[in-house]
Symmetry: D2
Subunit: 154 residues, 4 copies
Amino acid sequence: MWPDLAGRLVDGGHRLPIRVYFEDTDFSGIVYHGAYVRFIERGRSDFLRLAGVLHADLAAGGYGEALTFAVRALQMEFLRPARIDDLLVVVTRLEAVSGARVVLHQQIEKAGEIVVDARVTVAVLNGAGQPRRLPALARSRMLAVSTPPSGEPA
Amino acid sequence: MWPDLAGRLVDGGHRLPIRVYFEDTDFSGIVYHGAYVRFIERGRSDFLRLAGVLHADLAAGGYGEALTFAVRALQMEFLRPARIDDLLVVVTRLEAVSGARVVLHQQIEKAGEIVVDARVTVAVLNGAGQPRRLPALARSRMLAVSTPPSGEPA
Amino acid sequence: MWPDLAGRLVDGGHRLPIRVYFEDTDFSGIVYHGAYVRFIERGRSDFLRLAGVLHADLAAGGYGEALTFAVRALQMEFLRPARIDDLLVVVTRLEAVSGARVVLHQQIEKAGEIVVDARVTVAVLNGAGQPRRLPALARSRMLAVSTPPSGEPA
Amino acid sequence: MWPDLAGRLVDGGHRLPIRVYFEDTDFSGIVYHGAYVRFIERGRSDFLRLAGVLHADLAAGGYGEALTFAVRALQMEFLRPARIDDLLVVVTRLEAVSGARVVLHQQIEKAGEIVVDARVTVAVLNGAGQPRRLPALARSRMLAVSTPPSGEPA
């Protein structure tokens, strides 16, 4: 059904197609590295959306206290350039989920080749910025749409 | 056919659905006004894409000299707020096209209500930043997918 | 005293120097038009800062209810290009201030020439997004550092 | 001398003060993690600027072929939140420089505490996106303003 913006849950992961626009490029002619940080955040948001975990619900207290996700750590390798008008795909996979942290492996593909490889650690914070346990319901929803992450902590 | 990212040409205009992500919001809790400037640029790019006019072709000299579009003037009214996870639609209509300039009327809708109303004047520049005539082929491609703009100059 | 980031109140207006970085450019080789929207917002914020009106104070209820500024209308003309490493100056002048709205005239200069000319209308919103009167103290602080705007409403 | 935007070379490293504006925050109320990616890029650009290595010169062929820096790898830890109006300092230190790659250690401080810790690997590309050796003059200029990086390759 159109509009169809949230990507697809496939093979235990999530695929989000993204178009490169003017705003994503820089004067060197290729995509600005900071744009990929935004792209993989969109991938995580839509992975969560299709799993049934919405930022707006978390912030509105739908899981108890008002909560937001916050990125704790980011590791990225920029392997190939992308350019204006390119069609990219952000692939997101749950790598580990514990009581307090979620680790995701994310790759950005272009015509089947890997442009960016990333690993992102996310935590849950309350409105005062204090770390909170990932709500059990949010956790089970993420796991339900994922290939069981290896070495998954209890 | 999926991915289906470039929107639709309908009723002599163009409609592009856009999702609001973290990157688009600010600490006041709503969408940052500068994000809408990026959203309408995506709308113009995809209007051109479906009309058959690609930034990459222009830049590669596909219309003669290497060319890019540059925004000359921007008028925007911000009428309602939008928030994280919202689904917006950018509506783009050709308002006037002359030898050197293109004027577009753009609106951003949310659930049928107008969030932003904008009028954008775009010019064509060569690689040295000098104004150039809009290539006739690009112009006819834009007109072919548009309701005849009122008072269209020759 | 260093760091000296907030610009200068001079001649009844405000001047904020800004450097062009990678993030501000696009593949056409010049500054992305959306970057200027961010630049003039920085100018307005630092004009307010030197006038003694802080976003953080407004949001924390320092003027009564929690308040934020929201942009209502934006008119911009893009007159000349700017490039990576360029040093720009955002000039901000109060043009009109009423009970509910503030209008600012802003220009971006490069080596004494005008790159962008803008007029911005700003309103005050409470936490629920409802319009509120500009607090009298904030208004008087803005006027105290400005050349009396012509046709200033009561 | 004002404007004084490029920071300071001190203690074998570089310090760049940065103000947090609206554009840098998100609806969770704190600075968006992607904004820090832009902040440390500004730090690297101004470290290079004060070392005498300008992006514009590189791109114009001032070191032979037209060259740009490209980020190859990024490791970031987000340790504390920052908020609107905060004054941050980006500290940049050269960690290793070889013929083809530059590794920088960067930290973002707020009131003396570390908000972000980052390690960035940068390479040099020509206009076709091919890797090139770092020009010897650029390399020696970077080393001249740096504490000798440990284990510096020849």
